[in-house]
Symmetry: C2
Subunit: 157 residues, 2 copies
Amino acid sequence: MPTHYKGTKEEVTVLNVFIKLTRSTESLFQYLSIKLKRYGITEAQFGVLEMLYHLGPLQQNQIARKLLRSRGNITFIIDKLEKMNLVKRVVDAEDRRCTEVYLTPKGEALIKKIFPMHLKEIVSIFSVLNSNEKQLLEKICKKISKRILTQKEDKPQ
Amino acid sequence: MPTHYKGTKEEVTVLNVFIKLTRSTESLFQYLSIKLKRYGITEAQFGVLEMLYHLGPLQQNQIARKLLRSRGNITFIIDKLEKMNLVKRVVDAEDRRCTEVYLTPKGEALIKKIFPMHLKEIVSIFSVLNSNEKQLLEKICKKISKRILTQKEDKPQ
DNA sequence: CTTAAACAATTTAAGTCTAAACGATGCCGA
DNA sequence: TCGGCATCGTTTAGACTTAAATTGTTTAAG
């Protein structure tokens, strides 16, 4: 369902790409989120567990920066994970303002089990792309990310 | 920041593409959402106004389907827009279960003003892509959307 | 020292979203 | 015609998110 907007050729093209990108990523994330719900966790919770699993213990502010979420939100997510005994908080002895977040054995067991299944879903979806397309998509995404950063710097706030 | 996951080459490749896609689209939507906030509306509200502007009056359930949102959420969004006098609800005389949503003159004036500015932001971001890349991105997104649909049908719920 | 500024995490208030249940309406076969 | 089923919009409860204010800690300047 392309746009009905009448503008320059360039505008119409961009708008169509943008709409396709929006639709496809939204349905992708909705789809994956439904799959994760089976295991009793949300996408955000999975994101934290996966990060701790592959990068090791992290401070909350590091997690916030990496996941593009507010610190308040990370507090909320870690609260939930801690209640489920999947992670534990340890106050940093060096700098008592910071808390390090660790996977518990239960948390590690869970992410160890879930991650491969989740990855399988993603691989299955991306299997419609040939290796050239995957490579190009990665390149395009990098360009867009970079562009947004410079755009932000140009006219901040 | 690529993944630290050790798996097959295929898995590592897909995971990297997926991460890049996630990061870039999230920062894209966050960026655009901040821009819209200047005009006192949210992305979701903009989506409804833009849809009505380009497609004409629509029923709430049509809007829900097109925007991939729940019907309850559309009720919520239309409530807000109606309070701001940007849209009005009219019960369908043919089928009194349905309500048609119309832009008010004020709503039309607003979207008429905002849309070109918003489009300019999007065009500016996508200007880092050459026309071949834009074309490819659109093709790739279509493929992914289609893949998700068939995936859903295969193992529903 | 002491105090001000910077920073980490938490709390709070407000907003947005979904799923599920509900009431009203329309459709259709018996 | 009537009774059951489907569909529409709304309501509700609960989850998630951010921004801003708050608390506690560190750092650095006087």
